[in-house]
Symmetry: C2
Subunit: 448 residues, 2 copies
C-alpha cells in the first residue's frame, strides 16, 4: 500500500518526509489511521525504530496524533496549503547521492580565517598559568573566569548588562537546548519558528518535549498565533530569523514579552549569528528588555570553529536558581582547558579582532555574491537584511522549488529553499532559495 | 501539618528526604494523598519547582505514585523495612554545615599524581601536528583516532575485542546516560542497583525515564527480582558494585544476559572504577560475553582527572545504527583537542604507565587504611574485594548509622554509610561505613 523507497543512511527522515508529503497532498486523508509501527516496519522492510523515529518527528510537528491503545492518525491540514510542498519532495535523495562542488546549505567558516596561532599561544599559556588547577572539577555553570569574560563581552558588543553569575556555559547549542527542557519541563509545549532551523525542534523532540511550529511573518514569529496557543516557551531568533531573515521590530518584541508575562512562559532568544551584522547596529536584545522572562543564548560555532563545542545562555535569576538546584552536584560538560583559553581570548580582545577580520572578509564575499546573483540569467530578487550569513534569493519565474534546486545542482551547487525548512505547511514561501554564504570564498564564486 | 525545615542550598533534596523518611516511618500512610505541588510550596515557603523536583525524585524511586487529575499518593512500603532508614535521616544537614578535615565521601585523585607535564607535552604536539584540522567538526560518535585508541586499550587491559566503530565518545558518564535514554526510550523502565550511586537514577529521572531500584546481593543485582519486573534495561556495575563492593560471578552474569535476551532488553555494564583492581585479574566483561545485549561504559574521571569530561561506551551493533540515525547530523560534545590528546596518551602507553603508578600509590594508601581500621578502638570488620577505590567497614557494635557518622564527624571525618546510598528500603545494611579512599594520602591517614 505504501510504496516508499527507503534508501540511503537517513531512512527515518525519508520515511517521515514521505508520510508528511502524502498528508500534505491528501493521499493520506485527515483522520486516516496509519499502520502500526510493527506492521509498517514489516511492510517497508525497515526496523521498528526507524518507523518510531519517523512517527515521533511527525507527532512533534503535528502531522499526526496518537490515540492511546488505538494508533496513529493523520491530522487535518488546511486545504489550500496541501499543494505547497509538492515540488520540494524527493530532493533529499539527490542531495545525498550527488557530489556538489559548492555547498550553500551548511558552509563552515574557512579554516584559514581562524586565528590558529593566537589560539595555540593561548592554550600554551593556559597550560603554564593554570597548571594543575586545570584538573579540578568545573562547576556545573562553567568556569567563573569565562562567565565574567562573556558578561564583559556581551556588554561591549551588545550593550547587555548581565550579572555574570546568571551565565551558564554548555557544550554547544544542542546541549543547552537539552538543559532548557530539563529546566522548564518536557510536559511543556515549545513554540518554534516556521520555517526554521530543524535542529531546534528535533532536539526538543529528542529530549521528549512537544513542539508547536508557529509561522514567521515579516516581523518574526506570529505573536497573535502564539497568544491563542497553549505554548509555554517561544524559541525565537529575533535579530535575524533563520531562514527567512526576518528581523523582529521592537513593537513585536514587546508584544512577545507581554505574552510571556501573561502566560507565565519564557522566551528563548537565540542569537545564533548576531555577530555578523554587516551594516548598521543590531536592535536591542530582548533579554535586555525583560531579563526575567528571556533566556538569551549564543554559541561560538559560527564565530570561532564548529569543533569548538561551546555555547552559553543567560538565565533569568529564578531559572538560574532552579538550574543550581538540579545540577549543583554535576560538573560542566566543557573541559576547563577550552573555557580558560576562550576567557583569555575574550579578555585579551583577540576574539573581537578576529570577528572584525571575519566581518570584513564576509563583506567582500557578500558583495561578490550579490553581484553574481544580479548577473544570473534568471530573474532574481534578493531579500537581504544586512545581517547574518545568509540571504534569500527569490526566483519569481521558477516553476517550482524543485526546478530551482535542479538548475543549481546542474551547476554543481547544493542549495535549499525556504520550503525545505518548513516544519508545518505555510503559504507563500515558494521560489525562494536560501543561500548560506559562510563557506563561500570569492574564488569559489568566480567559478560559478 | 508538615514541619519540614528546608534550609540550605539543596532544598528539593531535603524535602525529598523528609517525605521519603516519613513514608518509611509510616508517618505518611500508604494511599495517603500528598498536598498539591502549589499548596505544599505555599505551606513550606518554597517554590513550586522545589516541590516538583522532590516529587519527581519520589516518583522515580517509587515512593509515591501520581493519579491523573487527582494528585500524588504515598505508595505501600513493606512493613518490616520501615524502620531501616530511621537513623540515616537528618545527617544531610550536618554534612552541609560542618567543615570536615577529611572527606571519605567524594575524594578526588591527588592532583600531583596526574602526569601533567606529559599531558601538556601531548597537547602541544596535538597543536603542532593537527593544526587547522582541530577546527573541523567532530563526528557524533567521536574522533576516529580516539575510538581506535580506546579499542586497542580495551583489548590490552580488559581483553575485550571490540570493533572501534561501535565506540561512542561522550562528555562524561552523565552525558552518556542521557544519550542512552534517547537511544532506548524514556518510556522504558530502567533497573538500577540498590544501594547504588544516586547520580545514575537521578540522571535517568532528569532525562524523563523511570527507575526501578533492585536490591544488590553478594553476587550483584538480584536477577530473580529483575526477572519478575517490567524493567527493560539493567544498569549494573558487575566488576565492583558501588557501594557494596559486590563482584558479580560469571553465573550471575550469564543469568543477567539470559534475562536481557528473553526480555528483549539491555544490560549497561558500568565499569566506573575497574582500572583499580589492586590484586588479581578482573573477571571477563559482560560485553565480551554477549556484545549484542550489553552496553559497556567507562570514563576517565577517576583514572585521569574529574575536569576531563570524557567517557565512552561500546554499543551493540544494532544500537550503534540507531545512534547514527538519531545523531548523524550532530557533532560530538567533546572538543577534538582533548580527544586527540587522549588518543596520543593511550597510543603512546602514557595512560597505562600513569595507571600503574596510581595503582602502586593506592596500594600503599589501601594498606595504611586497613592498618588504621584495625587499630580503631571500635570493633570493625573490613569487607574488601581488592578492587576499586572504596572499602566497606562494618561496625557491628554501632547503635545506628547516625552514631557512626557522629563519631567520624567528631574526628573531622566526613563519611557515609551504606544506608545513605539506598534508593529503596532494604534490610541488613545497617552499621556499614563506605570509605572512599581515592582522595586519601598516607599523611592524612597518619593525622587521624
Amino acid at each position: 500500500m505504501y510504496n516508499y523507497d527507503l534508501k540511503g543512511k537517513n531512512k527515518y527522515y525519508t520515511l517521515y518526509s514521505c508520510v508528511r508529503d502524502d498528508i500534505l497532498r491528501g493521499k493520506i486523508k485527515a483522520g486516516e489511521r496509519l499502520p502500526s509501527k510493527r506492521a509498517f516496519a514489516a511492510e517497508l522492510g525497515v526496523s521498528v525504530v526507524t518507523v518510531q523515529l519517523a512517527y515521533d518527528q511527525l507527532l512533534a510537528e503535528g502531522y499526526i496524533r496518537s490515540k492511546e491503545r488505538s494508533g496513529f492518525y493523520a491530522e487535518k491540514v488546511a486545504e489550500g496549503l496541501k499543494e505547497e510542498r509538492k515540488a520540494a519532495s524527493n530532493y533529499t535523495e539527490i542531495e545525498q547521492e550527488e557530489n556538489f562542488k559548492i555547498d550553500l546549505v551548511h558552509g563552515n567558516t574557512p579554516p584559514n580565517m581562524f586565528p590558529f596561532s593566537v589560539w595555540a599561544r593561548l592554550i600554551r599559556s593556559v597550560l603554564s598559568d593554570c597548571g594543575e588547577h586545570l584538573l579540578e572539577r568545573v562547576p556545573c555553570d562553567g568556569d567563573k573566569g569565562l562567565k565574567s569574560a562573556v558578561a564583559a563581552y556581551l556588554y561591549r558588543s551588545r550593550g547587555i548588562d548581565v550579572d555574570p553569575r546568571y551565565i551558564v556555559v554548555g557544550a554547544g547549542a544542542e546541549h543547552l537546548y537539552g538543559v532548557i527542557v530539563q529546566l522548564l519541563g518536557r510536559d511543556k509545549l515549545y513554540a518554534v519558528e516556521n520555517p526554521g532551523y530543524g535542529k531546534i525542534s528535533s532536539t526538543y523532540a529528542l529530549n521528549g518535549a512537544r513542539c508547536l511550529p508557529v509561522g514567521v511573518t515579516d516581523t518574526g514569529i506570529d505573536v497573535s498565533v502564539l497568544e491563542k496557543s497553549e505554548a509555554h516557551v517561544a524559541h525565537v531568533s529575533p535579530s535575524h530569523q533563520f531562514p527567512t531573515g526576518a528581523v523582529m521590530p521592537v513593537s513585536a518584541r514587546s508584544r512577545l514579552i507581554e505574552w510571556a508575562k501573561r502566560s507565565g512562559g519564557y522566551v528563548i532568544e537565540d542569537e545564533y549569528d548576531s555577530e555578523f551584522r554587516l551594516t548598521g547596529k543590531p536592535l536591542q536584545c530582548m533579554c535586555g528588555l525583560c531579563p526575567e522572562k528571556v533566556i538569551y543564548m549564543n554559541t561560538f560555532s559560527k564565530s570561532l570553529a564548529p569543533s569548538m563545542r561551546m555555547g552559553y545562555m543567560v538565565l533569568p535569576p529564578a531559572l538560574y536558581d532552579r538550574f543550581l538546584q538540579i545540577f549543583s552536584s554535576s560538573a560542566s560538560f566543557v573541559p576547563l582547558f577550552e573555557q580558560k583559553a576562550l576567557a583569555k581570548m575574550l579578555d585579551g580582545g583577540y576574539f573581537e579582532r578576529h570577528l572584525n577580520r571575519l566581518k570584513n572578509y564576509y563583506r567582500t564575499v557578500h558583495g561578490a555574491l550579490l553581484k553574481k546573483l544580479a548577473s544570473l540569467p534568471e530573474r532574481c530578487e534578493v531579500l537581504d537584511t544586512g545581517s547574518g550569513l545568509h540571504v534569500i534569493a527569490k526566483f519569481p519565474d521558477a516553476q517550482s522549488d524543485g526546478q530551482i534546486k535542479s538548475v543549481a545542482a546542474a551547476r554543481g551547487i547544493k542549495i535549499k529553499c525556504l520550503s525545505d525548512y518548513l516544519l508545518a505547511p505555510m503559504a507563500g514561501v515558494e521560489g525562494c532559495a536560501v543561500i548560506n554564504y559562510s563557506g563561500l570564498t570569492p574564488e569559489i564564486l568566480s567559478q560559478i
